[in-house]
Amino acid sequence: MPPGLGDTERAVASTIATWLYPPAGALGVSGAADRVSVYVDDYAARLPTASRLQFRALLHAMDRGFGPWAGRPTARLTEARPKDVAAYLTAWAKAPTYTQRMLFEGLRTVLMMAYASDPEVRARCGIPWLGDT
């Protein structure tokens, strides 16, 4: 398989997953867990080239968009305080522009596939997991 994500892209995915799936949640499994970013990496590697490039570009756009949004052009999403990450990602999720909302939803779907495919998450929700069968 070709390589999936670069280091920055992985870090962006991990930052967003940590906000979406905080460690203090009812399931007690954090999106920061390595296996979420490992899954996303593996998923990206399986995508056809054009789709993979689009996905990687979306992660970069999320990262690069943070500085202008925060009024500090060089600021990076991956280095932002949790409070700012939350505000920035909420702005994407509730964006007035349809395309922006849909882009965020697409990214959220991939991270959800990673999170919901985690055997521990499934066990805590009582959902069967086919990985071991």
Binding site: Y39, P48, Y98, A116, V121, C125, G126, I127, G131, T133
Partner: protein, 508 residues
């Protein structure tokens, strides 16, 4: 019968491949596989080409399944007034490998519209024998009571309470164990997808099958189709060798999107080829109950309503994977996880509309596709009403809460007034999340060569010996899930092509 092995797969692609046959079929989904089987049954020498592999081991989760076995890695979307996600499988058997296996004959109303608006008349039972043959071959039967599961049973109970016509779904399967995993491929081999039923039978009758065979162009000469050319994909996923198949007739079954793209890339760009791209826009609602539903138990789709078919609305019980449906839960992390933990008490029911007011087009920009589709205002209203009807069902079934996923409404509604709130919402196309895996119409049959791509027999206007058999043929919605109609048409057209090839061979 033709020479050489019956099956060539990516591991065998170590040199260029040239074949000759009576009929080459491009694409091995429900339509192509049935056409190949029908042709082989008539003693015709057939080569069936499939771009994807024969998937014998399924992935355990939805992300890897989509990325590895669907075109564009499962992230295909159309552009237009909304972004419509749509899935097309890329493997031997096409959509039948990952679909829910729902088999239903077209409504009489839909066939009457095909006749009145497009001059395609199947209203007098002309396809009955084809439907019978396909249903027999594919083992179509109602879901067995012991694998219905609570989610499907509750759906039927709700419809009964509301006085709506509903029934147990008929599917092509044998020994379904009710794992609700159809979207991941059937691990127990119960689903009779084309790789399990029809393609093996066609091969036993002499058909040759090549997987990892991507058709890039039609061979056209002096107004006739002479076969196809393309490339072979090896085990490493590289396009390593050339492919050329010459044939007396060419049957296109690459699916509604790929078939017109292939025709247009080959220079066939007349009106009708790539226009009229249609979908059944779909929706789903989540309903939370006090009691356990365990939505992952039971046949993937075991019950549906027939009550609203004449209004262009169909409601169904559904399961796929929490990874797909959890997007309906609130984004905020803590609330999200609380909802995840409630999955055992949640049922998912979906609905779709016939999409008569929504149309798009298939175009190609170099090797890439450009898909457009506009969600018509009447269909937006109809899909909103579909959401309201689903909410009525949840209320009748005793759900506490309903998650409609509509912009402008809270993520979670009380089931008590959810139908009314959904109906009262002012929505535009972008407020209603929709997706569709029922795609059809981009190479439509029709009596008028100026607007249609083919005649009633799938024969392409203006090009001899070229046929289309996939769902692209439907001039409008069949009013039901598309697979069975495509298979019956492919069966009928396969018979016609076999007759024509035989009579051409007899001609002096």
């Amino acid at each position: 019968m033709g020479e050489g092995p019956r099956l060539r797969e990516p591991k065998d692609h170590v040199a260029d491949l040239r074949l000759h046959c009576d009929v080459v079929v491009v694409g091995s989904g429900p339509a192509g596989a049935i056409a190949a089987w029908r042709l082989a049954s008539a003693g015709v020498d057939v080569v069936l080409l499939e771009a994807g592999p024969w998937v014998r081991t399924f992935q355990p989760d939805v992300g890897r399944t989509l990325a590895s076995s669907f075109w564009d890695g499962g992230v295909r979307v159309t552009r237009g007034n909304v972004l419509l996600p749509t899935l097309q499988a890329r493997c031997l058997g096409g959509g039948s490998v990952y679909n829910s296996a729902i088999c239903m004959r077209p409504t009489t109303g839909a066939l009457a519209r095909w006749r009145d608006a497009h001059g395609i008349d199947f209203t007098s039972g002309e396809l009955d024998a084809d439907f019978d043959a396909v249903e027999r071959l594919m083992g179509v039967k109602p879901v067995a009571p012991d694998v219905m599961g609570r989610r499907n049973e509750l759906f039927l109970e709700a419809a009964k309470r509301l006085g709506w016509a509903a029934e147990v779904i008929q599917r092509n399967e044998e020994g379904c164990q009710g794992s609700a995993n159809c979207i991941l491929g059937c691990r127990v081999g119960a689903k009779l997808s084309m790789d399990r039923r029809s393609i093996p039978e066609a091969m036993a009758l002499g058909a040759r099958v090549v997987t990892g065979a991507v058709v890039d162009r039609l061979l056209l000469s002096r107004g006739r189709a002479r076969g196809v050319e393309g490339h072979l994909i090896n085990e490493a996923g590289e396009s390593a060798h050339a492919l050329r198949v010459t044939a007396k007739a060419t049957v296109l079954a690459a699916g509604t999107i790929a078939t017109p793209a292939l025709m247009r890339r080959s220079g066939l760009r007349k009106p009708g080829i790539g226009d009229n791209l249609r979908f059944h826009p779909s929706t789903y609602l989540l309903g939370r109950f006090d009691s356990e539903i365990l939505p992952w138990q039971g046949a993937t789709q075991g019950a549906h309503t027939t009550e609203f078919l004449d209004r262009g609305i169909k409601l169904e019980s559904l399961w796929a994977d929490p990874a797909v449906f959890s997007i309906r839960f609130p984004v905020e992390g803590l609330a999200f996880q609380e909802w995840m933990a409630r999955w055992p008490q949640i049922a998912v029911w979906d609905g779709w509309v016939s999409g008569d007011d929504s149309v798009g087009a298939v175009r190609e920009v170099g090797p890439r596709l450009d898909l457009t589709w506009n969600f018509g205002a009447r269909d937006v209203k109809l899909l909103q009403e579909t959401n309201a009807l689903l909410a009525e069902m949840f209320r009748a079934a005793g759900a506490r809460e309903v998650l409609p996923g509509m912009r402008g409404l809270p993520a979670v509604l009380s089931a008590d007034d959810a139908p009314e709130r959904i109906r009262a919402a002012r929505v535009t196309a972008t407020d209603l999340p929709t997706a569709s895996n029922h795609v059809f119409g981009a190479t439509p049959m029709g009596a008028d060569p100026a607007t249609a791509a083919t005649d009633k027999h799938g024969a392409v206007y203006g090009t001899e010996d070229l046929y289309v058999v996939d769902t692209g043929l439907f001039p409008e919605s069949p009013g039901v899930n598309p697979m069975l109609t495509a298979m019956a048409l492919a069966h009928a057209i396969g018979g016609t092509v076999a007759d024509r090839v035989a009579s051409a061979a007899r001609a002096p």
